[in-house]
Amino acid sequence: MDTSIRSTVGKSEQRIDTVEKATGRVRYVGDYAVPGMLYAKLVTSTEAHANIKAIDTTEAWKVPGVRAIVTGEVFPFHIGPILADRPPLAFEKVRYYGEPVAIVVADHEHQGKLAASLVKVEYEQLPVVNSVKQAFETGAPLVHTDSGQYMKIISDVYPVPGTNIGSHIKIRKGDFGTAWAACAETVTATYSFNLSDHAALETRSTRVEINPAGKVIVHSCTQSPFTIKKVLNQFFSIEVGNIMVHVPLVGGAFGGKGTIQLEPLAYLASKAVGGKMVKLQFEREEDMRTAPCHIGFDATIKLGVDKGGKLLAGQYTFLIDSGAYTDQAAGITRAAALDCTGPYDIPNVWCDSYCMYTNHPFATSFRGYGHPELTFAVERTMDQLARKLNMDPIQLRLLNCIKPGDTTPTQSVLTASNIGDVEKCMLRAKEIIEWDKGERIEVGTEIVRSKGISMIWKTSTTATNAQAGAVLIFEADGTVNVNCAAIELGQGTKTILGQIAAETLKMGMDKIHVTMEVNTQYDPHQWRTVASSTTFLAGQAVLAAAKDAITQLKKTAAIVLQCAEEDLDVGGGRVYLKPDPSHGVDFKDIALGYTFPNGHAIGGQVVGVGKHIQRHLTPMDKETGFGKPGPWWSVGAQAVEVEWNERDYTYKIVKAVTVLDGGTIINPMTATQQMRGGMYMGLSFASTESFIFNEQGVMQNPDLRNYQLLRFGEQPAEYLVDFIETPSADGPYGARGIGEYGVIGMAAALANSLSVAAQVELNELPLIPEFIWRTKKEGGK
C-alpha cells in the first residue's frame, strides 16, 4: 500500500456535480424529448392474483394517436436476474396488483394514458397469498405452479417445487444442536415487517429505439447498464454489440434501479411501432406498485450463550417476502444468510433463509441488500439477551464482536486486512452517544430520553467475476478525462474516482475531468453500480489506468529528458527528474506525444487503461453455505437517541450516530454525506415506511401522501459521524466500500432505543406511535 503523503485522497474535495445540479441544468433521462418520440403507458393489473381470461382493446384503439397496443402473448417467456421466473408482461396470469398487463404506445402521453385506462381486462380471481407466513404454510395457494422449472441464471438459487419457496439458502457451521443444548442462557424472538419502497425522487424512466440496422439504443436511469445489455441479449436474442446503453446522471436509486424492468417493456413497445423511439416513464404510483420494491421480512432468531455471556450458538430463520417474483430477493436471501450472525463470533450457526413468493409487488435490492433487515432482528435479539443476562448491551457486544482470525457463517477466515475494527467503532460510538450518562433518563413528567445501539457489518456480495475498467484520456493542455461506467446516483462516485485519478497522477482536481454520463459503447465494462463496490472496483481500475498513463508519460519524458524512466517521477502536471525536480517536462508537452523543435514527433497520445476484477470469490455450498462470498467486510457501530413521550407515545429522534470502519476514507465529506443520508433513510424506513395491503392484496398507499417518508424537520437534530480507518490492503489507497452502511443499523438502533424507552420489546416495523401504543397495551408492563 502506498503510504506517501497524500494531496487529494483524504481531503473533502468539493463534489464535481453540484454546480450544475444547483442550477437545475442537469438533464436526467426523463428531461430529454425528441420530436417524433412516442410514449408508452402501461395497463396494470387490478387484481393481486388472477387468471387473465380476455383483454379487450377495442375502446382503447379509438383514442386518437394510439399506434400500438402490446400484450403478453408477444413475449410469453420469463426473465430474471437470478431465476428467470417473471414475464415482463403478464400472460395467462397476474401475480400482483400493479403488474404490467399491456403497453399502449401513442403520440402523446395523455393519449396513451387515456387509452390504457380503456383497455378492459377480464380476470378470474385466484386465492391471494398475502403474507410470508401464509406463503410458508403447507397447503398454501401457489403463486407459481411451475416453480422449480424456471431457468437458473446464477447458480446460488434453490427453489423448492410444489411450494412458495423461490429459494432456500442454508448455513451449517459447527454443531448447532449440541451447542444449543449446552447453553447457559438462551433467547428466542421473532420479527416482522412488510414490503416498502425505495422512493427515489426520480421515478424510473427509459427510452428505447431500434434503428434500421438493428441496433437497440437504450437511454435509462439504471444502476446496471451492462446488465440491460445482458438481459436484452439473453432473453431477446439481440447481439450484445448491437445494444448501446446511455445513462445520464441518476436521480437517486438505492438499489431500486439495479434490476431490469422498464427497458424490455420499452423495447417491446418500440418493436411494435417499427423501432421508433419510445419513452416509458413511471408516474409515482406506478413506481411504487408496479416497479420492484424493498423486501418484507419475517425472522426468528435464537441465541445461546455460556455463563459469561459468550455466544455459543445462533439459529436464524428468515422468511423474505420477495413478492410475485424472486428477482434480486433471491440474492438478498443468500446475502442475509451469509452474514446472518451480524459482526459476532459464533462457532455454531444454523440458518435457513427462504425467499418466499407472495402476491405482493416483487422486491429487489434495497440499500444494504438484506443487512438492514437481518441487523434489525439480530441487534434486537442482542438487546433482549443482554437484558436477560442483566448485562450492559455494549458489554455483551464487545465480548462477542468478530475479529481477525475468526470465521464468518460461511467459514471465510477474517484477516486484519479484510475486516475493519468493529470494537473500536463501538467504543467510539459509545463515547459519542454518551452512553455512560445513562441508557434511559426521565427528563420530565412525561418525557423519557433513551438510547439504542447496533453493530453492523456487510460484505460486498458481488458476482465472483465482478469487475470494472477505466480509460484516462489526456487533453492537449495536459488535463485528464476519466471515463468509467460507474454511475453517478448522488453518492458522489464520480468525485471519488476523480480524486483517485488526481492523487495517483499527483495533479489538482481542477485538472481532472470526469465524464458524468455513461455510454456502454466506449466505457469499459463494469459489473454494476451497486453493493458498495464502486470505490473498490472502479477505484482500483482508475488507479491502474493512472499508473498506466504514468508509465507512458515517463516513457516519452525519458526520451525528452534523456534519462532512464526509473529516474523520473510525476507531480504538479509534470514529469521530472527525481534528483533534480526543476528539470522536467510539462504534461501538456507530452500528453499528445512530444514534438521536437525540428518537427519530429514521438510517443503519441497518452491513453491510460486500467481494470480490476474480484479475486478468489466463490459460490456457496448448497448444504453448508461454505464459501468466500466477498472481498472484505466493512463494519461499524450505530446509535440513536430518542425523546419519547410516555403519555401519547410520540417521539423525536434527537441523535443518530455512525462510526464506520470502511478503510481509508477517500473524501471525508462525501463519506459523511453517505452516512447521514443512509441514517436518514434507515430511520425513515424504520419509523414510518410500509406498504399497506388490503385483504385482496391490493396496495392501499402507492403514493407519497399515504406512504409517508420522514419529512424536513423530522430528521435527527444531530447526525454524528466518525470513521475508523483500518486500511484494506487491496482497496484503492486502502478503501473499502461504504455507500450502504449508514442505513444498516438504524432500524435496530431506533427499535432498541424505543424498546428501552417504552419498556416493551418492539419487534415489528414501522415504529409508529400506534404500534408502540398497541404493543404496550397488549403485553407490556
Binding site: T18, D31, G251, R284, G490, L704, L709, R711, F712, G713
Partner: protein, 166 residues
C-alpha cells in the same frame, strides 16, 4: 373571461423568468408539463405529480407553487420564476458549500422554495424554515445539510430578486 377549449388546443402566453413565451396547451396540461415540454425548462421535476414532494416547485407571483398542481392556463398573466431564472443565487452557493446536494433531483425545488422563503422572511428562524421546507422531500441527504444551507442564507441580505415580468 379566460377560455380554453377542451377539444382544440389553445395558444397562451406565459411570462417565465422575465420573458414572454407562446405555448400551445390542452386545458388539462399542468404548468409543470408545459414548462418542461414546451419551454424546455426541465429544472422543475416531476416526481410525484400529486403535490407531495415539492420537486416541481416554481414561483407564481413570487409564491411557491407545486407546478404539478396547477394548470398552465391558471398561470396566464402571472409572472413565473423557475430554477433557471435564479442566477448566481447565494442559495445555490450555500447548498453546494453545505453538502446539501446529492442526486440533485429535489435540489431545484428546495432552492426555489428557499428563495421564496427568504424573500418573504429574510431572517426566518428554524420553525419557519421547517414549516416552509416540509413541502419538499429529499431522499439522499439527512435534511440537516439543507437546514444548514438555508440557515446561512437566512441572515444574509445578498439576495437578488428574480427577474421581474416585462
Amino acid at each position: 373571461m379566460i377560455i380554453s377549449n377542451g377539444i382544440t388546443k389553445s395558444i397562451i402566453q406565459l411570462h417565465v423568468n422575465g420573458e414572454t413565451h407562446d405555448t400551445v396547451i390542452r386545458s388539462a396540461d399542468t404548468l409543470l408539463h408545459t414548462l418542461r415540454e414546451q419551454l424546455g425548462l426541465t429544472g422543475a421535476k416531476k416526481a410525484c405529480g400529486n403535490g407531495d414532494c415539492g420537486a416541481c416547485t416554481v414561483l407564481v407571483n413570487g409564491e411557491s407553487m407545486h407546478s404539478c398542481l396547477s394548470l398552465a392556463i391558471e398561470a396566464v398573466n402571472q409572472p413565473i420564476t423557475t430554477i433557471e431564472g435564479l442566477l448566481d443565487s447565494p442559495i445555490q452557493k450555500a447548498f453546494i458549500e453545505n453538502w446539501a446536494i446529492q442526486c440533485g433531483y429535489c435540489t431545484p425545488g428546495f432552492i426555489v422554495n428557499t428563495h421564496a422563503l427568504i424573500t418573504k422572511h429574510p431572517n426566518a428562524g428554524d420553525e419557519v424554515i421547517e414549516e416552509w421546507l416540509q413541502s419538499n422531500l429529499c431522499r439522499c441527504t439527512g435534511y440537516q445539510e439543507i437546514m444548514a444551507a438555508v440557515r446561512t442564507v437566512c441572515n444574509s441580505s445578498q439576495l437578488r430578486t428574480p427577474p421581474t415580468n416585462e
